[in-house]
């Protein structure tokens, strides 16, 4: 067992020295690290509607469309959904939609709603592709819209935004073990970097434990969409909801195990956005019960 230099342990996590240790432990990826960390605050919109799903967890497409419209307007500050989209993407873009493909996948209704909304905004249908898959997918796109589903993950703590592009690495199993904190480096690959225009999290029916294989006992109807242009901020808000639900159920803190190192590393090592709650501005709309963002 050759010792590989400083290794992240539980003790680093408890000491609060994770940020420094994450940086020094993630060797060999210098060219994929950020030249500077993201600065300033990041806006994340959270829109919920109690009627987004019925009692059998079937999605109501018309309610979902209204939620999507509200999310885009809240996030961009524009007056219409069309203007909101056109502030994020252009008709000349080839836009890749990137959903979570399986094991608590993104609802097809969410993907369809986004696609329809883009078309209504004037994006040609043939310029909207499904971009989930191997490296050839993002290479064919000039813009990416992440559509991950909200779920806990047994390998990474949370398996939502940062894990979304794992297949773009061409070697996803490399990120299953001690390298799972390095997921952020995939976002800095040359054919991925700076293409993500929006991350919209499907938080309609999240999974709060034992993911990614689904155990229905650990899902609940949050009926929400979470969106932002800062993927780390969006993942941080998503994480807060998951941990909030866990705490609500147990009546005490119930931390994810393993801790979601990939989120903090995405901030502190790869400069993809902010994981600092104080630097995240929330724009919340709709159903307030069970918000979990107090």
């Amino acid at each position: 067992m050759p010792h590989k230099g400083k290794s992240l342990t539980r003790r680093d996590f408890i000491r609060g020295t994770l940020g420094a240790t994450v940086g020094t432990s993630l060797i060999g990826t210098k060219w994929l690290k950020a030249s500077g960390n993201a600065a300033g605050s990041s806006l994340v919109a959270v829109v919920r509607d109690k009627g987004a799903m019925d009692a059998s967890n079937n999605v109501n497409p018309s309610v979902l469309k209204t939620m999507l419209d509200q999310t885009l307007i809240k996030l961009t500050g524009k007056d219409s959904t069309k203007d909101a989209w056109l502030s994020l993407v252009k008709p000349i873009d080839t836009i890749g939609l990137v959903p979570t493909p399986h094991l608590n996948p993104t609802h097809q209704e969410v993907v369809d709603a986004v696609k329809s909304s883009l078309i209504e905004a004037g994006i040609p249908e043939n310029k909207i592709l499904n971009a989930q898959g191997g490296p050839d997918k993002p290479k064919a796109c000039t813009a990416l819209i992440g559509l991950p589903a909200l779920k806990a993950h047994w390998l990474t703590g949370i398996g939502t935004v940062m894990k979304l592009y794992i297949l773009y690495s061409g070697r996803p199993s490399n990120y299953h073990d001690e390298n799972n904190a390095k997921l952020g480096e995939i976002w800095n690959l040359p054919f991925v970097k700076d293409k993500t225009r929006l991350v919209l999290v499907d938080a309609l029916h999240p999974l709060y434990d034992k993911g990614p294989q689904v155990n229905p006992m650990y899902k609940w109807a949050y009926n929400g969409l979470i969106a932002g242009t800062d993927p780390v901020a969006v993942d941080t808000v998503s994480l807060r909801i998951i941990t909030g639900k866990r705490k609500e159920l147990k009546g005490e803190p119930w931390p994810l195990s393993p801790p979601p190192l990939c989120v903090e590393a995405a901030d502190k090592v790869y400069g993809l956005g902010t994981s600092n709650w104080d630097n995240i501005k929330l724009e919340i709309s709709g159903w307030k019960e069970g918000l979990l963002l107090g």
Partner: protein, 350 residues
């Protein structure tokens, strides 16, 4: 040809058929013997469960989707690491379909040992214990009564909101209805019965017997948080120790972990017990030394004591007192103890 040589010739040809039959008999005898189970511990050829073609409103395809260690990541991405972390053989997956209801997915994981199938079930004790074939279903009672961690009190099947998970000898199975209805629940349970039918019920892993019901003073085992595993990834999903495989866990090792709770005037406290058993003393010692180097770099490895080479110590670290005992081919740990005395008392008892 003279008469004697003719007689010899006749004898030769007359014994040929007899020899032929003797050889055939011996061959058949040896084939029969080799097909029988060995009395010295070899595994009986197990019968593979037969899933019904139709159950209630649902029908399955003729053949399953076969998933091996080579393509498990294609099937389930990172979730595959969970099964690879145990002694996984292969998975057979069926999707049952019905015209008027959502699908039922049946995943039958063939593991190499019953211990590994149990281990997968032990990662989540949530759900309603289900009794098949007249087995005792008193898990809930035994958990409440904190009775001894006997093999018979571990549930073999758990159901909740459309998902049935079960352990049946070397099989771990997940049977999940996309949408739970009265009909789908009946079908899911019927499929579970068909899997466990006429299969053996070996006991739970012997290492579980090393989990005492309690430690002094008044630390009570949380049985619904006891797990059996072999992989550091699984350990981290239960109790995060670190990114590296600092305990050098692999398929040749085995481990159990559980939480113990104590309630006092200051509220509820919890400690974590972990026991790892390695194939031999040398591997155990190497793992112990490496753990020390990675997790306790500021402390020196203790000297071995006694003829057994036992090493034990307690340390105060960020989240409380940690104690360990290395002995033979096992290492026991106790984490997050509130004080030195607790850590020392517990580790001395292991």
């Amino acid at each position: 040809m003279n008469s004697q040589s003719r007689d010899n010739t006749l004898k030769h040809y007359s014994t040929q058929p007899k020899l032929f039959f003797v050889v055939c008999f011996c061959l058949l005898f040896f084939l029969f013997i080799s097909a029988m189970p060995s009395k010295t511990g070899g595994k009986m050829q197990e019968s593979k469960p037969t899933l019904p073609k139709t159950v209630g409103l649902w029908t399955r395809p003729d053949a399953p989707q076969l998933v091996t260690a080579e393509n498990i990541f294609d099937y389930m991405d990172g979730a595959g690491e969970l099964y690879i972390g145990y002694r996984f053989d292969h998975l057979e997956s069926y999707e049952y379909k019905a015209q008027t209801q959502e699908n039922i997915l049946v995943e039958v994981y063939f593991m190499k040992t019953s211990d590994d199938a149990f281990g997968l079930l032990s990662l989540d004790w949530g759900g309603e214990p289900i009794e098949f074939a007249g087995e005792p279903g008193d898990f809930a009672k035994s958990r409440k009564a904190n009775s001894a961690a006997e093999n018979s009190s571990w549930p073999r099947a758990l159901y909740g909101e459309g998902l049935l998970r079960l352990w049946s000898d070397t099989i771990y199975a997940r049977i999940m209805a996309s949408q739970e209805t009265t009909e789908s629940k009946e079908a899911v349970l019927a499929l579970g019965r068909s899997i466990v039918k006429e299969r053996r019920n070996p006991p739970a892993p012997s290492l579980l017997k090393k989990l005492p019901d309690s430690f002094p003073a008044n630390w009570i085992l949380s049985k619904d948080e006891a797990s059996y595993f072999r992989s550091h990834l699984v350990l981290n999903s239960i109790y995060y120790l670190g990114q590296e495989n600092m305990l050098d866990l692999d398929l040749s090792s085995e481990a159990v972990t559980a939480r113990y709770e104590r309630k006092d005037s200051k509220g509820k406290k919890r400690i974590r017990f972990l026991l790892v058993r390695y194939p031999d003393n040398q591997i155990a010692h190497q793992a112990f030394a490496y753990f020390h180097k990675v997790y306790l770099p500021e402390h020196s490895l203790p000297l071995q004591s006694g003829s057994s080479g036992e090493m034990s110590n307690v340390f105060h670290i960020e989240d409380g007192w940690l104690g360990y005992k290395f002995q033979g081919n096992t290492i026991a740990f106790i984490f997050e103890c509130p004080d030195q005395e607790t850590a020392r008392t517990i580790i001395d008892q292991t």
